[in-house]
């Protein structure tokens, strides 16, 4: 795994060459996901979205990598962990891994109860969130996984500047 020079202070890019390295990249990315956060998780089939979440969950002490499974059918997976940031060390973080692939319209989305998951302690990682403008609007940024060739992946985290109140 190699971390490229950030394009600016809000974008971080990793290049990985195996599932193990993608998990490592997830561990690194977790440092930038202080709650509350809503982040879109984008990437094609087989790109390694669940694999990346394994690393993020592991970094937060929320789950062992092999306990993190795909939420495609089950829609929402919740993992409770602790912050590894110095400022908030030990504080509870609720990591939610969502997949909206099977959600067909805004009405179904409305009754999924996503709003209730968005607490001050929550980090939401949402696959297929880009299907819904309402989710994109609520998001604080995105993680994009691109398949380069073979097992090589480019993983980029981009967080929007904090919204100014008022």
């Amino acid at each position: 795994m190699s971390e490229a020079i950030p394009m600016d202070d809000k974008v971080r890019v990793f290049t990985t060459h195996s599932a193990e390295e993608t998990i490592e990249a997830g561990r690194e990315l977790a440092k930038f996901l202080d709650p509350p956060k809503v982040v879109l998780l984008r990437g094609d089939l087989g790109a390694g979205k669940t694999t990346l979440v394994k690393g993020i969950a592991a970094a937060l002490g929320a789950a062992e990598p092999d306990e993190v499974t795909s939420p495609t059918f089950t829609l929402i997976h919740e993992y409770a962990g602790r912050s590894v940031e110095h400022a908030k060390l030990g504080e509870t973080i609720l990591l939610y891994h969502l997949d909206l692939y099977r959600i067909e319209n805004q009405r179904q989305l409305d009754t999924l109860g996503m709003e209730e998951l968005m607490t001050p302690q929550s980090v939401l990682l949402i696959e297929w969130g880009e299907k819904f403008p309402s989710v994109v609007e609520r998001s604080d940024g995105e993680i994009v996984i691109e398949t380069l060739h073979g097992d090589e992946r480019r993983i980029a985290l981009a967080l929007h500047p904090p919204k100014t109140s008022g």
Partner: protein, 395 residues
């Protein structure tokens, strides 16, 4: 009123409430289906209703997933009413209300749990909480009872669906079932792999029936997928290294994707997807003429790899834990090749392998009512504090 203990068909217990009718209403709303059923003494299914069968005006062909809790809310009253009607009984005839408490989707589960709680409170009848995964195991026990088979114990349960791939060792001691989780997937469930590969190839959803039907027209050895190995992770403490049977279907899915990419199949896939989309209520048979030999071989080889992997680890687990029988449940239990393969291998090893009927293998409420019976007999009832447990595990 002190009727006698349950008949020989049900387990007897000295403790617990004394059953009057033996009727339990089961309610299931953990994911896509709103379902209700009435089952007598955990053995006799009087009704087994799922909302997708009740509804007459589906917006498009096939099952419409009821992902949203609002759908469950709309369905639960008519579904329960239909289940009671078909069973020919009233609410007053019931001995208890059973409901799925988890795992599943919080909002969806809550609809069932709150409704069951309200019903139990209003009727002053016991409320019984059931784990959805335990329900799947009891679906097969129900089938075994229907066929008047006695199930040799301990039994190994393979629960395999779109959302789950688990192995449990299950045993009944003193009318109480105990479960030990000895295997699971580390990434995708087997049913999800079927769905995603079907989508990758431009076929319909859910993918299982499409792959299953088309696979019989391909060469299962044409593409050398598998065997799938999952490394035991070094970070696990030695005591946790005790036999765990881990599944992984993510790599196979990616291998299928790579095959499609390296064999330049994108154009034919897009054409197939387009043609199928234009057929109203398209069936797997409609896709046969749209698949060339290469595609059919890929489909057959993919299914062969999934089935071989499920079979290999299931029988290895059965051997390790000296299980005397195997039960298979969940949506993927409907896969014909899986059935044939497991049944043949079971015969070879003189190990009985039991599958549920189709309506009992997918999500249903009869399995919830059946799983609730031994709990009812043992007096294992839920309190008013019962709530949805989205991350509930078993064993």
């Amino acid at each position: 009123m002190h009727p006698t203990l349950p008949s020989s068909s049900g387990p007897a217990s000295a403790s617990g409430p004394v059953p009057a009718s033996g009727l339990i209403l089961g309610i299931e709303s953990s994911c896509d289906e709103t379902a209700a059923a009435v089952v007598r003494r955990g053995a006799e299914v009087l009704s087994n209703v799922v909302a997708s069968q009740v509804r007459t005006h589906a917006p498009y062909g096939g099952v419409v997933p009821e992902l949203a809790s609002r759908e469950h809310l709309q369905n639960i009253v008519p579904v329960v009413r239909t289940a009671l009607e078909q069973a020919g009984c009233s609410l007053e005839d019931l001995d208890a209300i059973a409901v799925t408490e988890g795992p599943g989707l919080a909002g969806a589960l809550l609809v069932g749990v709150m409704y069951a709680k309200g019903l139990a409170f209003a009727l002053n009848k016991p409320l019984i909480a059931v784990n959805h995964l335990e329900g799947h195991i009891h679906a097969v026990l129900l089938e075994a009872k229907k066929q008047q088979q006695t199930l040799a114990q301990p039994t190994l349960a393979l629960v395999v669906s779109g959302g789950h791939t688990h192995l449990y060792l299950a045993e009944e001691t003193q009318a109480t079932w105990r479960y030990k989780n000895i295997g699971r997937t580390v990434d995708d469930a087997a049913g999800e792999a079927f769905d995603k590969v079907a989508k990758l190839l431009g076929l319909g959803y859910p993918g299982g029936p499409w792959i299953d039907w088309l696979a019989q027209h391909g060469d299962p050895r044409a593409v050398p997928f598998g065997p799938i190995t999952v490394k035991q992770k070094p970070y696990r403490a030695p005591q946790q290294q005790s036999p765990r049977f881990l599944f992984s279907f993510s790599g196979l899915k990616t291998a299928a994707l790579r095959y499609v990419q390296t064999h330049a199949m994108a154009q034919t896939i897009a054409a197939r997807h387009q043609t199928l989309a234009e057929i109203a209520d398209a069936k797997p048979a409609d896709a046969l003429a749209l698949c060339n030999t290469e595609t059919l071989n890929l489909i057959a080889s993919f299914q062969r790899a999934v089935v071989e992997d499920l079979a290999r680890k299931t029988f290895a687990a059965a051997e390790t834990f000296h299980s005397a029988s195997i039960v298979v449940s969940g949506g993927v239990a409907a896969n014909r090749e899986l059935r044939q393969h497991l049944l043949a291998e079971g015969r070879r090893r003189s190990l009985p392998v039991i599958f549920p009927s189709l309506e009992l293998s997918t999500d249903n409420a009869a399995m919830i009512a059946a799983a609730a019976w031994p709990k009812f007999v043992a007096g294992d009832v839920a309190t008013a504090a019962l709530t949805a447990e989205p991350s509930l595990s078993l064993g």
